[in-house]
C-alpha cells in the first residue's frame, strides 16, 4: 500500500503552492493532475500578482514565463457606441521589482510545476481522481484515481481541484454551486506582432496595459469585460453571472463577439490571429459562499473553496495564499507529531481568518447581493455617464449651464432622486 504524507489533487496555483511548500519542508507529496500536463486544464485572464508568489519563490522573476509587467490600468464604462473611463499610468509601476504581470497560464503552470517537482514532490498527470477514500469514521485516508490499481493513501488530502470541485461535492463537503455565486467567462487569445501590441497600447519592451470594462457590453447582466496585453498577443474576454445568463437568450460566444465589435474595442484586436477560445467559471459568491474548508483528513484550497475577491479581480493570489497556508498548517502539525484530525486542521481556518484572504472577503461580503438586485449599475449608469460626457463635450452653441441641467434631468428621469441617493448609499455601505 502506497502512502504519502499528503496528496494534493490538482496542479493549478493553489495546488502548486501547497505541494511546493510541503515538498520543500521535506514531506512526501503526491500531486495528481488530470490534464496532459500541468496547466492544460487551467484558464485565467491572466494577471499574476507578484506578492503571493514572492512569498513562495522569492526569485521567481529569474525564470518564470512572464508576458508583460503592468504599467497602466484602464477602467472603461461602456455605452453601446462609446466609453467613458479613467486611465492610470505611472512610472512607479515601471521600477523593478514589478507588482503584477500578464501571464499565459499553460506556460506559467508548467514552470510552477517544475519548481514543485524540483522541491521533491511526485507529480503525476493524465490522471483523474474519481473519489475520496474514507475509513469507517469518515476520515479521509486517500483517493481513488482512474488508473489501474488507482488507490493511493495519505495522512491528509488537499482538494485543489478547482471551481467545480467534483470531489468536495460528492463527499458532501460542499453543496452544488448556486448560479448566483458563479460567473461564466469566455475568452479568446489573439496573436499579432509584438510591435503592433506596443503601438496600439502605447508601450515598449515588456510594459503592459490592462483594460477592465463594465457596462452595456454585458447586455444588462452583472459582469465585466477585460482586455490584457501579452508579449505578442492580447487576451480579450467577458464574464457574467450564471444566474443572469440563465434569464436571457444570448450565447456566451455571441456576447463576446458583440463586445469585440464595439467601436472602441475593435481597433485594438483587429487583424489578430485567434488561436484559442476558452471558457471558465469563476466562484464569485464571496464571503457568505465559502464552505467548510477542512475536516478529518481533508482541506480545501483555491477556487474549490470559493476563494475569489470578485470586486478586485483577484483569484490566483488567493489560491496561492490558501495553498501555502494549508501546507504550513500541515507542516506545523507534522512537526508537533499531531494527527490530521478536523480539530487540529482548524488551525488552517485560523490562519485564513488572520490573512488578507478572509479580511478582504469579509470587507466585501455584501457586494455580490447589491449588484445582483441592482442591475442599473450595469445598464442605466453607463448610458447616463456616456450621454453626460457627450452632452458636455459636444460644442453646439448651447450654454454649459443648460447642458448641466439637461444632464441632471436625465439622471432624475432614469433613476429618480431617491434611486440615485439609494444607489450611492448602497455602494458606500458595501465598499466601506
Amino acid at each position: 500500500m502506497e502512502k504519502f504524507d499528503v496528496i494534493v489533487v490538482g496542479a493549478g496555483p493553489s495546488g502548486n503552492a501547497a505541494a511546493y511548500t510541503l515538498a520543500k519542508a521535506g514531506l512526501s507529496v503526491l500531486q495528481i493532475e488530470r490534464g496532459e500536463a500541468p496547466g492544460s486544464k487551467n484558464v485565467q485572464g491572466a494577471i499574476l500578482y507578484s506578492d503571493a508568489l514572492e512569498k513562495l519563490i522569492p526569485d521567481f522573476r529569474e525564470d518564470a514565463p512572464l508576458e508583460r509587467h503592468i504599467i497602466e490600468q484602464r477602467m472603461w464604462v461602456l455605452d453601446d457606441e462609446s466609453f467613458i473611463g479613467t486611465h492610470f499610468r505611472s512610472d512607479d509601476f515601471n521600477k523593478p521589482p514589478y507588482n503584477r504581470y500578464t501571464i499565459i497560464r499553460a506556460k506559467f503552470d508548467k514552470w510552477f510545476s517544475k519548481k514543485v517537482q524540483e522541491a521533491g514532490a511526485l507529480v503525476i498527470t493524465e490522471t483523474t481522481v474519481k473519489g475520496l477514500l474514507r475509513d469507517e469514521s469518515g476520515k479521509v485516508i486517500g483517493v481513488e484515481t482512474d488508473r489501474a490499481d488507482g488507490k493511493v493513501y495519505a495522512e491528509v488530502v488537499i482538494l485543489a481541484d478547482g471551481v467545480n470541485s467534483t470531489l468536495a461535492r460528492k463527499a458532501g463537503f460542499r453543496p452544488e454551486l448556486d448560479p448566483k455565486h458563479v460567473a461564466l467567462a469566455v475568452k479568446e487569445i489573439h496573436f499579432m506582432p509584438k510591435e503592433t501590441v506596443e503601438q496600439r497600447f502605447n508601450i515598449q519592451k515588456t510594459e503592459g496595459v490592462v483594460i477592465e470594462m463594465l457596462g452595456k457590453i454585458t447586455k444588462g447582466m452583472m459582469g465585466t469585460g477585460f482586455l490584457y496585453t501579452n508579449g505578442d498577443s492580447v487576451s480579450i474576454g467577458v464574464g457574467c453571472m450564471l444566474s443572469d445568463f440563465m434569464e436571457q437568450k444570448l450565447t456566451p460566444y455571441e456576447l463576446l463577439e458583440q463586445m469585440k465589435a464595439h467601436p472602441s474595442i475593435q481597433p485594438l484586436v483587429q487583424g489578430g490571429e485567434m488561436k484559442e477560445y476558452t471558457a471558465h467559471l469563476i466562484p464569485e459568491g464571496g464571503y457568505h459562499a465559502i464552505p467548510q474548508v477542512y475536516g478529518d483528513g481533508w482541506m480545501i484550497v483555491g477556487d474549490s473553496g470559493m476563494f475569489v475577491n470578485a470586486v478586485h479581480r483577484e483569484g490566483s493570489n488567493l489560491a496561492m495564499t490558501t495553498g501555502r497556508l494549508a501546507a504550513e498548517t500541515i507542516i506545523e502539525l507534522t512537526r508537533a507529531g499531531r494527527p490530521m484530525s478536523g480539530a487540529n486542521l482548524a488551525l488552517y481556518k485560523e490562519r485564513l481568518d488572520d490573512s488578507f484572504v478572509m479580511k478582504d472577503l469579509k470587507k466585501y461580503k455584501d457586494m455580490p447581493d447589491i449588484f445582483h438586485s441592482n442591475n442599473q449599475f450595469f445598464t442605466t449608469y453607463p448610458e447616463l455617464l456616456s450621454r453626460s460626457a457627450y452632452t458636455m463635450l459636444k460644442v453646439d452653441g448651447v450654454d454649459k449651464q443648460t447642458k448641466e441641467k439637461e444632464i441632471f434631468a436625465s439622471f432624475r428621469e432614469k433613476r429618480s432622486l431617491f434611486g440615485l441617493l439609494g444607489d450611492a448609499f448602497k455602494l458606500w455601505r458595501a465598499f466601506r
Binding site: A106, M246, E276, A279, L281
Partner: protein, 96 residues
C-alpha cells in the same frame, strides 16, 4: 439562427476526444424534451454542446470546455450527469 459559429472558434482548440465515452450525459433525455420549458443549456453552454432538434435536446460533448455551466444551470431538474473526462482526455489548453 445564431449569427456566430462556435465551431469556428472551437476549431482553434486542441482536444483529445475519448471516443464513445462522453463525460457528460443527460440522465433522462425525455425530461429535457417534454418537461423542461427553458432549455437554457442550449443557450448557456459556451461550446454549443447542447443543440435543439425540434423539442429534443441533443448533447455532443466533443467540443466541451469542461467549465461546468450546464450542470449548475440545470436547477429545476438536475438532469445533467457531469464528470471530468478520463485522465489525459478532453480539452488540452494551449494557452489557457
Amino acid at each position: 439562427m445564431r449569427t456566430v459559429k462556435v465551431e469556428e472558434k472551437l476549431f482553434q482548440n486542441r482536444y483529445l476526444v475519448d471516443a464513445d465515452n462522453p463525460h457528460i450525459r443527460l440522465k433522462d433525455a425525455e425530461l429535457c424534451e417534454k418537461k423542461c420549458t427553458t432549455k437554457q443549456c442550449t443557450v448557456c453552454c459556451p461550446a454549443g454542446c447542447y443543440t435543439l432538434e425540434g423539442q429534443k435536446v441533443v448533447l455532443i460533448t466533443d467540443g466541451c470546455l469542461e467549465c461546468g455551466t450546464c450542470r449548475i444551470i440545470c436547477t429545476t431538474y438536475r438532469n445533467v450527469d457531469w464528470e471530468y473526462p478520463r485522465g489525459g482526455y478532453g480539452i488540452q489548453f494551449k494557452f489557457g
